[in-house]
Symmetry: C2
Subunit: 327 residues, 2 copies
């Protein structure tokens, strides 16, 4: 185990935007070693008053949509505007696939070397809840280090979009032109979570097709219920290759930011998210304790099978397992 | 407290489709008295082998869309086809509003007197989880009593659509023509849960408008990701007044049923739902225990406030409350 710093050293380093210390602080909060927890918690508590002042953007899209290329282009645009940007990822599958650390950095080579940008790959872990928790805490550390925009990317596997939606202010869905095939990978319900849809690779022969898709989706989104924010989701096109549409997207995000600050929705949403975050932790911790109980662990697989096959009532099975746990 | 029957009497009565016994059995499983639980569980276990053979339909729509009128018309159509139909409701607000028992029955007067139909209003309760649990169990009892179609209506408040979606085979969203205002009441994400959208009140001066809306929504739904079932959601129009569109809707539902039976999705979805149901119970029970702990109960309100206002870290607050509970 690498040696830990003192609380003071972590806090001072993070607040001074020292990237090496920031990275070590994120490693600390990501640590699954019980011995690291008190230190991690103290560091987080100390930086908390300095966190929360960024704009948090979530980005999702199926593999092949060009997420990394888009983030590289949009990130460079933002740093070109003088913004400081941190890119985080929620990807519970990254551990299984051997880690996407190298992958992420090489896929965003220019941004990785930009002094105004900081790229941190997904925390390792197989449970989405655990990975999400560590990304949320990394976000606070990045905010304390003065990053003005936090971009949280997700690979769009399973429920990760919903989890990322719950930790950001603005949620962007990337799509390819040519409605049809690329939809196969998007989960139902994601469209209605988006504050904006950006149609990527809108260049060369695909540009016309992208504009057609833009019009179609814009029409469709008008038919859908408005978000709690009152915001009507917008559809735009962009090209990472030709660096077009990026200024328009940033303008749109700023408009959203201004409008939700004025209505009070921005703050209200942040508060609701913090509360959900606490209740999520509690729920996860209770379930984890339950699942780790030796008797539950032993009986769960057969019970799940019996319930699925209709041999046992879900409620009866739940009560039986709970009784083992509470005994 | 009204006297309970014996297990044998409940089971025999339910299987013989005796409505009085069925109603009393549902009252038993809805009972919140701890003393009723072993009996309720035994009755449910005994009828379980006879349950599961119905088609479960979920119906939602905002107030004013004409849900009761639609269910009355569609229900009468189904019983006219010789089908036996049970109508259940998930409405966690019904207790607060003084009970919708009378309301439901008078709003569906014809159906309420139809010998092939059985209408049971929502279980009382303020927690959606508890209300949903009791509706799921009432559904099993109705199935054991030989009802071939179970219609689960929900008022579309909060998360109840998601919960109903998780207990049915087919989910129908009712909408009014004239996109715009009526959307205000629908929650984002509901559209993408629907297997079909029926535009109600498609008669008289609204008929043309309804057809226009049908075409618009059908176009829009094509742009959205396909469901796990592979089914492309359909949009149709109907009129409870003129009794039009009901045969088409039933035809569509049957087509869905046949197609998902063939692909195996129907069975696979039922199995997944049963498992989710068990895990939901466990989660609810664990959280309820946590929330009822005297020290948690005392400290939760102030803690929630501190977290919302950013004075305490969600994780730190969660750990502190968990420590109280686990001590």
């Amino acid at each position: 185990m690498r040696q830990r710093l003192s609380v003071e050293a972590y806090v001072a380093g993070v607040l001074a935007a020292d990237r090496v210390v920031l990275s070590r602080a994120i490693t600390l909060v990501e640590s699954q070693l019980p011995a690291d927890q008190p230190l991690a918690q103290e560091v987080l508590e100390r930086v908390l008053p300095h966190a929360g002042r960024s704009l948090r953007l979530g980005i999702t899209g199926v593999p092949g949509v060009g997420k990394s290329t888009f983030i590289e282009a949009f990130g460079k645009y933002l740093t070109g505007q003088g913004k400081r940007l941190a890119v985080l990822t929620v990807d519970p599958s990254s551990q299984r696939s051997g880690g996407s650390i190298l992958g992420d950095k090489t896929r965003m080579e220019e941004l990785a070397h930009d002094p105004r940008a900081y790229i941190r790959p997904s925390a390792a872990g197989t449970s989405l809840g655990g990975v999400a928790r560590r990304t949320r805490e990394a976000m606070l550390l990045c905010e304390a280090a003065g990053f003005e925009i936090i971009l949280v990317e997700t690979v769009g596997v399973g429920q990760s979009e919903t989890v990322v939606r719950g930790m950001v202010d603005f949620f962007l869905l990337l799509m390819l032109a040519g409605a049809g095939d690329e939809l196969q990978g998007i989960k139902r319900g994601i469209m209605e979570m988006a504050d904006a849809v950006a149609i990527t690779k809108a260049d060369g022969p695909l540009a016309a097709e992208a504009r057609r898709a833009q019009a179609e989706y814009q029409n469709a989104l008008h038919l859908f219920p408005p978000a709690a924010s009152g915001w009507v989701p917008q559809v735009l096109t962009c090209s990472a290759l030709e660096r077009t549409g990026l200024a328009e997207l940033w303008h749109l995000i700023q408009k959203y930011h201004q409008s939700t600050l004025q209505t009070g929705y921005f703050e209200q949403n942040r508060r609701a998210q913090a509360l959900d975050w606490m209740h999520d932790y509690i729920r996860q911790a209770l379930e984890e304790r339950f699942r780790r109980h030796p008797e539950v662990l032993r009986q769960l697989p057969a019970t799940e099978k019996a319930v699925q096959q209709g041999h046992e009532l879900p409620l009866a099975a739940a009560r039986r397992l709970l009784a083992l746990f509470l005994k």
